[in-house]
Symmetry: C3
Subunit: 162 residues, 3 copies
């Protein structure tokens, strides 16, 4: 069991199924030694958590929890392409879009739901941007995307005997 897998288990979590994209694209994709994810919503077993805008129908605590779930979905999407959780060496970047009422300005606290989960599994730090947007797909409270480092595996070299 890799360290990342052990840390996930310590949190009482496991990787969810990767959600089918709501459009003509893929959940995650390898580019060289990185894997990028599509924007992930806080969906659990097909149900969207806490729809609405933070500062209005959604509290900061609910949005923090939703950001954590969306980040876990994004980790699962990255792992599905990287070759498993243990193939991810670190998380490079976390982008958090927060559907916000006009006067809600604590996007940082909401985004910590994503950053703290990611940091618990992959210590070492990542860059992050958090912004408050007007509205998100399906009325989601948050959307999270990741860029992770996942070095390409050396290919098995066929051995030929003389």
């Amino acid at each position: 069991m890799s360290q990342a897998t052990a840390r996930l288990a310590e949190l009482g979590l496991s990787l969810p199924e990767v959600a089918t994209p709501v459009g003509a694209y893929v959940p995650a994709l390898r580019s060289g030694n990185q894997v990028l994810t599509s924007g992930q919503l806080p969906v659990v077993d097909g149900t969207l958590l806490h729809p609405g805008k933070v500062g209005d129908q959604v509290t900061v605590e609910q949005a923090y929890a939703a950001a954590r779930v969306a980040a876990l979905n994004a980790v699962a999407a990255a792992a599905s392409v990287a070759g498993g959780l243990e193939a991810i060496s670190r998380v490079v970047r976390v982008m958090v879009f927060v559907a916000s009422s006009a006067d809600f300005t604590d996007q940082a606290q909401v985004a910590n739901g994503a950053s703290e989960l990611v940091g618990a599994i992959f210590p070492g730090g990542h860059v992050r941007s958090a912004v408050g947007v007007a509205v998100l797909p399906k009325n989601a409270p948050v959307e999270v995307e990741l860029v992770v480092d996942a070095p390409e595996q050396p290919r098995a070299v066929p051995v030929t005997r003389a």
Copy 2:
């Protein structure tokens, strides 16, 4: 004619002129084996398509069409730097910002205008994020940016005769 060029022709499309940036930057730029584009607006021959917010002055169908146009402009910008459409091996990432009324939540359908065009020219899948923003430059309904893979061409080696 490359496959991408053939597919573009099958769609009845050709690459538009690359629009001059509305600021102190460039439309696209190579970084290693990738080309990144600036955010592209749905402009045709200098005219912005369907200004306004989706869910308000702009319908989903109009915004879908606008996303398709903005994506084509982004492909043109990428191709101008990559060394032509045939120098692009795939599209890695599509980011779609949708200027949205407060209660419009079908950003995914709008963004499919970009993803489906990109996927028709470059099959194989890309990651995508779609978010609903308050307002876009020039009152555009959508803004699209791309990251594409475009392997650097090996340089011609000068041949010296003895």
Copy 3:
């Protein structure tokens, strides 16, 4: 003194201290030959410049100045990880989020505050996206993130004498 350092001095500027992130992440991070920054706010000596929304409480001129400050903070964050300003070979990408009133559509002019500063220090062009978002952390008028090229330094080779 590198060219970038000389240009910064010509502008009458120096790199500010890198602000402590308002969350569980780092200000900037190296990934291969690039350095990415977190989203940076227009903070000077701990004080946020011009809080509010552009087109409402904040003028275009104030937002332009704020974008310039946020971009300088982002350059400082990138330099702190790259190994100094002189270790940055160019700026690849500038992302500018502008907190906008519903009818403000000149995000391009605001973002020029970032692009023109970056271009004055690192000529050669960068890609840029500018979008108008509902609201930003701490009620900031703008948030700026950068991707820069900063080639990894070759490691010093220990010399062993026979």
